[in-house]
Symmetry: D2
Subunit: 295 residues, 4 copies
C-alpha cells in the first residue's frame, strides 16, 4: 500500500552554506540536543490532488539531520525541492482518489547557540543583501500599517535583542492564546485589533513589529515539545540581531532552543506544512517529536 | 442673488424635550457663555445637486439659540427638518447649476453643567431605552472589533467618568493629530492601527472604546474656538455617565464646555456638515465662532 | 418556575402611525394571510446578564398582531420598549444565574400589498426626511466603499423596482449560501469579496448596493416559513421605491409577502433577535411559524 | 559634486541563467527593439538615509543591457546586488544630509518573443519548483480572499493565455485609471472594491486573479513609452502560461513587448524603484525611455 522513499542520510551541501555559516558564526559552543521526529499525515481524496508539504527537518548550521525516512502511499508521484537560499525542503506530491498517508521520521541534532541578550540591532547599511527582503510587509505581516504603533510601543526601548524581547513580552501580555480565534486569512493587524490568536498569529505579530522597527524578521516553523497535548506543528519567529538569526517564541509554549526547524519564510504562506491544490479531507495530523536522552 | 430665509427666533418646543431635560437635570447651576456664529459655505455646481446641511446650532437643555438667520442663494429649494429625538436640524437643499452660497448666523447661549468627575457608569439595565442604540458598533466605530483591546487597555481603570478621561488621555498620548492622515472612509480601527488622524478620528476612537466597554457614546459636532486658524467644524464625543451626556475632546484643542453643538449622532455619517448627492466644487468653508463678552 | 407575562391583545396606537400609514397607502387591497408564531429561546447563565431581545411581531400598516403572549422564567426583570419611529419592540431582560427560558406566541395577520414592479426610484429631494438616514453607510453596509462597483454593475439598469430586482438576481447568482461562511463581524464588503454568506449577508449586500445607488434601504428580520428545517430567524431587506418600503429576499428562500416582520433597522446590529451583555450559553433557538388556514 | 560609477558593459553571467533561458525557449525568433533609458532621481535629505533603488535594466533572456552607466552624488556609499534567481539588481545607497542625485543611463535591446495566444495553463504538477511561490498570496495580492470571485468571473473562460487576456479585459472595463485614487497601502481587494487605481493597482489585481485561478503570476516594472507625459515608471504583470512568463498590461497604456524590464517580484514591495529608510524629500523622478531607430 505504501512505497518507501528512504532518503539517504542527509548530507547534501547547499551552495550558499559556507557563507551562511560564517555569517552566523556562533560565539560560544552551543550544547547540542537530540530529537526524534515522527510525523504522520493522512488525507482522503475525492479527486487527483496536488500538494506541497513542508515536513522535512531543515539542514543548517544550527541543526543537523542525522537520519531520515519518508513513507508515502503507493501511487503518489512526488519529488523534493530544496530552496537554494535557506535549505528548506518542499515535498511536492500528486495523489489520486483515495487515501493518502505520509510518515516522515528523522533524528535531528539541534545545536543552537545561546541567545545573545546584548545583541545589537544591525544598521540598515549592514544588513546582508539577501536578508533585506525580510524588512518588507507581507500578506500576514502588514508592517507598513503598524509602523507608528510599533514606534509608540517600542520606540523608547533599548535597540537590539532587548527590544525583540520587549516585543515578545508585550505580545504575551496583550494577546490571548485561544484556539479557533483565527483562521487562514488572519493577519497581524487583525490580531493587533482582536488581541487573540494561536501560535502563528503570535509569531506574525512579532515579525510585523520587528519589521516595522527595521529589524529583519521571518517566520520559523517546526517540531516542538509542548507541555500539553495534542501535538501540532509550532510557529515561532526569528529576528536578525547581532548579525545572526535569533529564534523567539512569544507564546512561551516551547523553548526556542529546542525547535526542530522545518522552514523559515516571509510569513505563514511560505511555510505551511501542507498547501493543497484541490479538495482533501484531513484525517490525521500528528507531528510527534521527542527528546532523545544523551549522555 | 441671495434670498433671505430669516428664521424666527428659535423657540420651537420639541416633543421629547421635557423628558430629556429632566433626565439631564444639571446638579449645579452652570455658568452661561454667549457665542456668535457666522458660518459661510460656498459651492460651484455643474448640475442640479441635492444637499443635506447640518449647520444650525442645536436647541437643547444646555444650549439656547437666542437668534438666528440663514441666507441662501436665490433659486435653491430648501426646507429644515428637526429630528424629534435630538432636536438637531437638517437643512435639505436642492440647488441648480451655478454658485451656491449659504450664510448661517446665530447667537447662542451655552450653559453646560460642569463635568462631574465622580460620575458613575450606568448599569446596562438602567440605560434609558432610547440611549441603548449608542452601545452598538457603527460604520466608523467598530466597537465589536476593539472590545478585547479596550478591555486590556482600560479594564482595570475605575469605571465611570474617570475611565472616559483615561480613554481621552490614552488617545491624546498615542494618536498623532495630522491633517491629511485620514479620509472619509477612515474608521476607528484604522486610527487604532495607524495612530494618526484629525478631530473626527480622535472622537471616533473615543466613541469606540466607550461602547466596547458598555458605556453609551456618540459623536458631537459643532462650532469651536481654536487657538490656531483656520476655522473649521469640530468633532468631539459624548459619553453617557452619571445619567447624562458628558462632552469630551481627546484632541484637547478646544474646551468641551464651549462647544456650540450642531448635532449628535452615531458617528460622522450622521452629523456631516454637508452631505452632497452629486458633484459640487467646494469653494468656501468658513465656520466662524466668537465669544461674546458678557458682564 | 416561569412567570406569565400575558400581553393584552396588542392594540397600542403608535404616535406616528397615522402618518406612516398614509405615506405607505397601498394601491391595491392586498390579500391577507394568517400566521401563528411560536418562538422559544433558552439560555444558561453563569452570572447576572442583561439582554435585549427582538422577538415581538411588529405592529404596522401591513401587519396586524391579533393576539400575543410572552412567558419568561420567573425572576427575570423585564420591560418592553417600542421604538416611536418604527413600532418595533425591544424586550429588555435582566436575568440571574441559572436557566432563562422565553416563549413568545402570536397570531399575526400579514396583508402586504403586492410589489409594484413598475415602482419608480424616489428622487433625493422627495425622500421623506425620516427616511434619509437609510441612505447612509453603516457597520455592515459600507455603501461608500462599494459605490463605484454598484454603479458599474447596476448603473445601466432601469431605475426603480427593476433595479432592486436586478440587484437581488445578481446576489443570488454570485453569492453562495453557505452556513458557517460568515460571522457576526462580516460586512457587505467581506461578502462581495468572498462571495459566500447566509441570509443576513445576502440582505446586507442588497442594502449596500441600494444605498450606493441612492435608493434608501434597510434590513428587515422576522419569522419565515422555509422549505427546509431547521427553523431560524430570517433576514431580508427593504428598499424605498415608489414611495413605500418594498421587501426583497435575495436568498429566494422565502416569500417576502409572507415575512412576519419583527424589526427593521440600519443593519443587523439594530435588529438582532438577542443582544447579550455578558456571557450566556445558548441552548435553544426555535422560532417556529406556521401558516393558518383561512377560508 | 557627483562621482561617476561607470559600470562596465553589463556581461555578468547569472548562475541560473542557462536553466532559465532553456525553460523560456522562445518558439519564434522575436523582433528586437532598441531603447535608450535616461533616469534621473533627486532627493533632499535632512539626515543620513538608506535607500534601495531598483532602476537598473534587467539582464535576461528577452532583454540585453548593451551599455549602461550610473552617476551618483559624491559621498554616497553604494553597492549593487544582483538577485541570483531573477538577475534584477538592487542599488543600495547610504547618503548624508543634503542633495542626492542619481542618473542611470542604458542602451537596452528588448527581444521579447511574441505572445502565444494559444498558450496552455501549466498543471500544478508541472509548475517549476522555483515558480511555485508565485501562486501564493502577498501583501498587495490577497488571492486567497478573491478566489471565489475569480472563479465566478473567469471560471468558465477557456484556460491558458485566453483566460489571462479575459482577466485583463475585465480589469480594463471595470477599473478606472485615476491618479491619486490609491496609495502605498492599497491592495488588490481594495481595488476590486473601489474600482479605481493606477498602473500598479491594475497589475496587482491581474496578479491576484491569476493566482486565485492557480496561474503563477508576478509583478513586472520597468521603463515604458507612454503616449501622454509625464514620464513615470510603469507596472505590468506576468503570468506563467505555456511554460514561460508572458507580460500583460491591463491598463493598455503601453506595449508589453516594449517594456524595458527593471524587476519582477511577488508584488510592489519587491520592485519599488526606491525604498527609503528615513525621511527624504523627493524632488525629481524622471525615468525617460526612448525608442532608438534601427535599420
Amino acid at each position: 500500500m505504501t512505497s518507501v522513499v528512504r532518503a539517504a542520510t542527509y548530507r547534501r551541501t547547499f551552495a550558499r552554506r559556507t557563507k551562511l555559516a560564517s555569517m552566523r558564526r556562533p560565539p560560544v559552543s552551543p550544547r547540542s540536543r537530540l530529537f526524534d521526529v515522527d510525523c504522520r499525515l493522512s488525507y482522503t481524496l475525492t479527486e487527483t490532488t496536488d500538494f506541497v508539504f513542508q515536513i522535512h527537518a531543515m539542514q543548517g548550521p544550527d541543526q543537523d539531520v542525522l537520519t531520515e525516512s519518508l513513507r508515502i502511499t503507493l501511487g503518489a508521484t512526488c519529488h523534493t525541492y530544496a530552496d537554494p537560499h535557506t535549505g528548506q525542503r518542499f515535498l511536492r506530491v500528486q495523489a489520486v482518489t483515495g487515501p493518502l498517508n505520509l510518515r516522515y521520521r528523522a533524528r535531528v541534532k539541534v545545536a543552537r547557540p545561546r541567545r545573545k541578550l546584548d545583541a545589537q540591532e544591525v544598521p540598515i547599511a549592514a544588513v546582508p543583501d539577501e536578508v533585506m527582503h525580510n524588512l518588507m510587509p507581507t500578506r500576514y505581516c502588514e508592517s507598513d500599517l503598524l509602523s507608528s504603533a510599533a514606534l509608540k510601543l517600542f520606540g523608547a526601548t533599548r535597540p537590539g535583542c532587548a527590544r525583540v524581547i520587549a516585543i515578545c513580552d508585550w505580545i504575551h501580555r496583550n494577546v490571548d492564546y485561544r484556539t479557533g480565534s483565527s483562521d487562514t486569512t488572519t493577519t497581524a493587524c487583525d490580531v493587533f485589533l482582536s488581541r487573540a490568536g494561536v501560535c502563528r498569529d503570535f509569531a506574525h505579530l512579532g515579525v510585523t513589529f520587528c519589521r516595522a522597527l527595521n529589524i529583519p524578521a521571518r517566520l520559523a516553523v517546526g517540531y516542538s515539545i509542548f507541555q500539553a497535548p495534542p501535538p501540532d506543528f509550532h510557529a515561532m519567529f526569528e529576528a536578525f540581531v547581532g548579525g545572526r538569526w535569533e529564534v523567539f517564541d512569544p507564546t512561551r509554549m516551547a523553548d526556542p532552543s529546542e525547535l526542530v526547524r522545518i522552514a523559515v519564510g516571509r510569513d505563514a504562506k511560505d511555510v505551511a506544512f501542507a498547501t493543497i491544490f484541490g479538495t482533501a479531507q484531513s484525517r490525521v495530523v500528528a507531528p510527534i517529536v521527542k527528546r532523545v536522552a544523551t549522555d
